[in-house]
């Protein structure tokens, strides 16, 4: 478990630097179990920073969301860095974006947190519905200690963790400037069990399954906006001329959107699971991403977001790349 005092000290130290604009981290939210992204602009702001298994958001999205309004005449652009608090998975998003040259390594200060697994808010809500009062969760080895109105109960992590944490290979951030706490060695292995069992279904069953899922999509694009790797200046789905995807919200256009997005993340998705977390219609988007990740791992031995020096998958060619999928 991360020492919050150490975290706050690191935030304070970072935000005090002349070359840092602000630090983004987590604070307690407005009700129940909620935790929300927060920003420190000056050293006092560091006091509100927390870290708990409720810190599910991938904050690597915030440097990518930075707005650059047109400058007034004579105005200099703000070239200062952004500090970001990251877990293992979140750090991989930063690494991947750096690989793609979407972000300059010099533009971020990474405050890494070795993570022992977060909770899945949807599983938590199902287990403890409608908690408005003070509710907190602490890490307790292989259990989560959940305190609601002063009463604490302990629940096995496996019951509440999202799937991504159950097979997490990188609990410690792969890239950081400051590490808060001690490094944790990854002991789990991604086995793609769920994907393998899904692969065994017939084509018809698979299609039916996805049709039912995509029918629900309301095209709010929360999946895209919460994704650190979805940082195109203009998303293909917003483009009007040519209009790649129609505005009609029906199963055909929704399928186009969701599949296009999955393919645009091929070799880039680092599996933080934000898209699935934020989807208001509960579409299991990680199933698409994991399937592509698995294929890529098998064919090209490539894992996205582990080494900032490496070239992105789609930007490198090796003479012995497999070709059997080319017709």
């Amino acid at each position: 478990m991360v020492d919050e005092k150490e975290l706050r000290e690191a935030v304070e130290k970072t935000v005090k630097r002349d070359d840092v604009k602000y630090v983004v981290g987590y604070e307690k939210g407005t009700y129940g179990f909620q935790v929300t992204p927060c920003f420190a602009y000056k050293s006092e702001d560091a006091d509100k920073f927390i870290f708990s298994p409720l810190c599910v958001h991938n904050l690597a999205v915030f440097p990518m969301l930075e707005e650059k309004p047109p400058l007034r005449r004579g105005e200099e652009p703000d070239k200062r860095k952004v500090g970001v608090v990251v877990k293992g998975c979140d750090s991989r998003a930063i690494v991947q974006i750096i690989q793609e040259k979407g972000l300059d390594r010099e533009k971020v200060v990474i405050l890494g947190i070795p993570c022992t697994g977060v909770v899945d808010p949807k599983k938590l809500e199902a287990k403890f519905p409608g908690k408005t009062k003070n509710a907190e969760i602490k890490d307790d080895n292989d259990k989560f200690a959940i305190t609601i109105d002063g009463k604490t109960s302990k629940i096995a992590k496996d019951e509440l963790m999202p799937d991504k944490c159950k097979t997490c290979e990188y609990p410690t951030p792969v890239l950081y400037d400051i590490l808060i706490g001690k490094e944790i060695k990854g002991s789990k292995k991604e086995n793609y069990k769920e994907i393998e069992s899904f692969e065994k279904k017939s084509l018809k069953d698979k299609w039916q399954y996805w049709e039912k899922q995509f029918e629900k999509c309301i095209r709010c694009y929360a999946c895209r906006n919460s994704c650190p790797l979805c940082y195109c200046k203009e998303c293909m789905v917003d483009q009007l001329d040519p209009q790649w995807v129609r505005r009609s919200v029906d199963v055909s256009e929704n399928t186009a959107w969701n599949l296009l997005r999955a393919f645009h993340l091929a070799g880039r998705c680092i599996g933080c699971g934000q898209c699935e977390r934020v989807c208001p219609m509960d579409i299991p988007l990680m199933k698409l991403n994991k399937k592509i990740e698995k294929e890529i791992k098998e064919m090209f031995k490539y894992t996205a977001g582990v080494n900032a020096e490496e070239k992105p998958l789609l930007a490198m060619f090796k003479p012995d790349d497999p070709e059997d999928f080319i017709l």
Binding site: T30, Q34, R224, D238
Partner: protein, 340 residues
């Protein structure tokens, strides 16, 4: 207003009666999602729900609505759409029903919107009071109640073995008349049971939004830094607007192939940067702070100025599902406390 009771055992008979002459829509559960969908038999209904994921505004203002169909080209022609479907929305919550009354101001006025108005006229609303409001419900902040009857044609309230039935409008009377045998007059003890159920539900609502003089207060803080701070964590997705029962912005597009096409109207949302972008490339709301502020002002300032009603019903959907916990109860309450 007629006050009656309906035995819970007779509910399916009532639905079957309604199905004879109308299309019936109601809350239907599939996996973990509850949505308002057409039902063919009473057993499809799922009445033990809090709020549907997508509000029933989707039945009045379809997310994708065909305005008319056409055949393009010099020999082209226009084909109007049939709008005369008679329908019943069964089990709608008072807050969602209120949203229809709020939307009326936009769709009937200087320019009537035939699509919305026709649907509204042809729809009977049979409401179901909320007995266990959720964490983020705050309808009471607008002097409404989880068992408010004024926005529906008939309101049912669970009072144990029976539903307490309040018949509000003439449309509602037609329904109770047609299925007259199913209803009995309510006794005073039934009325008391309804009041108790209503009070119990009101007491369960734990959150309050402070909206006192909010119109004037917002007038003074348009340029305040507060909005930048609120919006800084906004991801810019459309969850809050699409799931809001009163958000009603739309975009109109022609979608066609070489031989056929349709003019469609689709939901749009003001969190989207291209929402206000001009043909010149200029965008009057270039930053997320401008867009988040606009959503709040539209509901709590412009709407009350134009129509004398706050365009929020307190259903809590945007709070429940915001990926970054932008909480409209908190934002508006705090906005009221900002020093201009």
């Amino acid at each position: 207003m007629d006050k009656m009771i309906l035995s819970k055992n007779d509910l399916s008979k009532l639905i079957e009666e309604l199905l004879k002459k109308n299309k019936v829509y109601g809350p239907v559960k599939s996996d973990d999602t509850v949505l308002f969908e057409e039902i063919k038999k009473p057993t499809e209904l799922y009445l033990d729900y809090l709020n549907s994921e997508v509000p029933p505004k989707a039945l009045m203002l379809h997310q994708t609505e065909t305005l008319f169909k056409f055949i393009p080209g010099p020999k082209g022609k226009i084909e109007p759409v049939d709008m005369d479907e008679k329908k019943v929305i069964f089990g709608i919550r008072p807050c969602d029903a209120k949203s229809f009354a709020i939307l009326d101001h936009v769709f009937e006025g200087d320019f009537d919107d035939p699509y919305f108005i026709t649907k509204r006229k042809n729809t009977i609303l049979i409401g179901l009071s909320c007995s266990t409001p959720g964490t983020n419900c705050f309808c009471t902040s607008f002097d409404d109640s989880p068992a408010a009857s004024k926005y529906v044609d008939i309101l049912l309230t669970d009072i144990g073995n029976n539903y307490y039935v309040e018949v509000i409008s003439d449309l509602g009377k037609q329904v109770t008349k047609a299925a007259g045998k199913l209803f009995k007059s309510a006794t005073e003890s039934d009325t008391k049971k309804k009041k108790d159920a209503e009070k119990k539900a009101i007491d369960m609502i734990s959150r309050t939004q402070k909206t006192d003089k909010i119109v004037e207060k917002l007038d003074k803080i348009f340029e305040n830094r507060f909005w930048k701070d609120v919006a800084f964590k906004c991801l810019g997705c459309g969850t809050c607007t699409y799931l809001c029962p009163t958000c009603h912005c739309f975009d109109i597009q022609d979608e066609s192939t070489l031989t056929k096409g349709a003019r469609i109207r689709v939901w749009d949302n003001c969190m989207n940067p291209e929402y206000t972008i001009h043909a010149s490339g200029y965008n009057p709301r270039p930053a997320r702070a401008n867009r988040v502020r606009n959503r709040i002002y539209h509901k709590y300032n412009y709407y009350p100025k134009n129509f004398d009603v706050i365009a929020c019903v307190g259903c809590g959907r945007c709070i429940d599902l915001c990926p970054v916990n932008i909480d409209i109860i908190d934002v508006v309450t705090k906005a009221g406390e900002v020093k201009p």
